[in-house]
Symmetry: C2
Subunit: 182 residues, 2 copies
């Protein structure tokens, strides 16, 4: 039943957004009673934060190909699919907007980002340091910005409908060079 509720939250978030979403609406969509939802999560905020956290870590493996560029390439393959999912591309901007007014959501979003993509990116960086491909004392946060920013910009901000052929390969090469220059 938890899965039915999670699925209903995604649909409800995508349809009406966080501000207008209600526990009633979620329960109706999931075909359960309101109490079934409240037994698992004590508020709409906690429900969404739980879902966000799960979304961030879900399905992101830590690649280990032995080279920074190819590790980045695998990370981008997974991330671009996740970001371009229609549900994610509506929900992420919505929660970002809420985060600007709600410090609890802002903190949960940042934590989800750190626990999800950033922890994978951190493993990739640590492995590259271990191989001597990049400097051990580089600005780790800046490296994470270089890894995460461009694809997010393209998929979520510019909302480009489709990545051209060769895009992820060129992005991986360019980002690897950028990090080596730090």
């Amino acid at each position: 039943m938890t899965e039915a509720i999670r699925a209903a939250v995604f649909e409800e978030l995508a349809a009406v957004g966080y501000a207008r979403m209600s526990i009633e609406g979620i329960a109706r969509r999931a075909g359960v009673g309101k109490t079934a939802v409240y037994r698992r999560w004590r508020s709409k905020l906690h429900l969404v934060l739980d879902i966000v956290s799960a979304l961030a870590v879900q399905g992101l493996p830590a690649p280990d190909t032995g080279r920074l560029e190819t590790d980045l390439r695998l990370l981008y393959e997974v991330t671009s699919r996740a970001l371009r999912h229609p549900v994610a591309s509506q929900i992420i901007p919505d929660l970002q907007a809420e985060a600007a007014r709600n410090p609890e959501i802002a903190e949960a979003m940042q934590k989800a980002l750190r626990d999800g993509q950033e922890s994978v990116a951190s493993s990739i960086l640590a492995a590259a340091v271990g191989r001597g491909e990049i400097r051990a004392d580089l600005d780790r946060d800046l490296a994470l910005d270089l890894i995460s920013g461009p694809l997010y910009w393209r998929a979520v901000v510019i909302r480009s409908p489709k990545l051209p052929k060769g895009y992820l390969g060129a992005l991986s090469r360019a980002t690897a060079e950028a990090i080596k220059a730090l």
Copy 2:
């Protein structure tokens, strides 16, 4: 009076967000009548789109230092100030969220981004091609993603309160290397 209305729109957007904002609220805040607002803009949507477009181009010079890295550095100085303005950091995510549900806003945001930062970034790229610093046939859209993504990610998505010393210098160096690798 147009300036008073513009200022009121910024304050109202930051305070209540696009969805809850009304022409009445804007007029009240600006100390004018509703008709004064409607004489200039025919709807809330058109008013906000106009403001967004103005925000994007405002105060962004096209740097021309003779080097890609230092041109990027100047662009980042201006952009980081603009993005970190409290009003912008609330309004941009808000409009991004609306863009996910409203194609008209999505299109205006994209146009504003293109007309603003991206046109400056395009001039920087064209100058670098002219000097032979970067390839003439590189993927221009990918280069723009590399230029715009990391700082946006850091300032608007991660919402990092302060950039550490040396950040923009290192970002400019790394991004120049990334684009040279395309």
